[in-house]
């Protein structure tokens, strides 16, 4: 039975926190654990969506949430918070991002600042759970799209192209049949399709 520490006041996190921390096994011990987490937190703040191992991601998520909530609570004129941000964010321009971008973004939110999804495991590798960790309000497309038929999905793009091809060839056929007269109704059905496919590959 311990007495709660009263020297510091913290705001409650909106995510589930385990009673015990995970050790994140590594040769350098607790220091190495914190170093690992610093890298992940920096990556999360920088890229806003990252794919990590589940355990490391879950730990890093808690630290990122705490960092953002401290930043919201104290603002950027508070020296300890500034030191904390300086410690956790390895790239120093991210400190500005934390206080100037993320704080206004999350100031009035009632939900957690981050989201974590389970990601599929790579097939031939160690049996590690993977997860996708992202900040809310990131600029990327949603991971779970609500519309089942998104026009931009690669399958739909390919189908569209195939349909287009088919139609074009049909038209050509009809045109050939219909016209013994000598004007080709349509041309270059191949070009747009190949372009689309090239685009998809580069993605």
């Amino acid at each position: 039975m311990n007495q709660a520490d009263v020297s510091k006041l913290v705001s409650k996190l909106r995510i589930k926190v385990k009673a015990e921390h995970r050790n994140l096994r590594n040769p350098k011990g607790p220091e190495g654990r914190i170093d690992k987490l610093r890298k992940t937190v920096t990556g999360l703040i920088k890229f806003e969506r990252i794919e990590v191992n589940y355990n490391r991601g879950d730990e890093a998520r808690q630290y990122a949430e705490r960092l953002i909530s401290e930043a919201i609570r104290h603002g950027d004129c508070h020296t300890p918070t500034m030191k904390m941000a300086d410690f956790w964010l390895l790239e120093k321009e991210l400190v500005h991002k934390l206080f100037k971008v993320l704080v206004p973004r999350f100031e009035n939110s009632n939900v957690s600042f981050t989201k974590m999804y389970k990601a599929p495991k790579p097939q031939y590798s160690r049996n590690l759970e993977k997860a996708v960790l992202e900040l809310r309000g990131n600029p990327y497309p949603d991971l779970f799209t609500k519309q089942p038929n998104n026009r931009l999905w690669i399958q739909n793009v390919l189908l569209e192209a195939a349909k287009h091809d088919y139609r074009q060839s049909k038209y050509a056929e009809i045109a050939q049949n219909m016209a013994k007269n000598e004007e080709p109704t349509q041309v270059n059905s191949e070009a747009p399709k190949s372009e689309i496919i090239e685009d998809i590959k580069t993605q």
């Binding site: 040769p27 350098k28 011990g29 607790p30 220091e31 190495g32």
Partner: protein, 150 residues
Amino acid sequence: MFKSLITKLCPSQLTCGFHTTACLNEVRLLTRLRVVDNSEIGMRAMAEGKPPKIICVYNKKRVGFIGDRVMVAIKGQKKKGILVGLKQIQNVKVPKFDSNNIVLIDDNGTPLGTRIHVPIPTILRTILKERTHAKGADYTKLLAIATRFV
């Protein structure tokens, strides 16, 4: 953590990199004690820097608690004594002392000295009264020579 420590420590300074729990400060065989009465033998033993050693604790656990009778080796003699203050963690409201204190008695429970010069826990009153039987040794004489109770 200790792996990292061991890698950091060069082997010549590697003494004991392992965590040990806090000691219990139990009074058991061969513990050195402090005699707190003014008996001749006790005073001399303490002055010479040869405090008595326990050679027997008279209870089933063989770990001395407050009010227990012990046999000590003091200046080449065997004497009996009563533990009147312990370093060990005590119950609530029972004082914990900075040293393990003992008052020497003889077989009948009569103290060898005439005065105890440190405070004595009040709970000893009850304990010693309980241990005193009509025909056995009378330990309550010890309470009479105490100067202060806490």
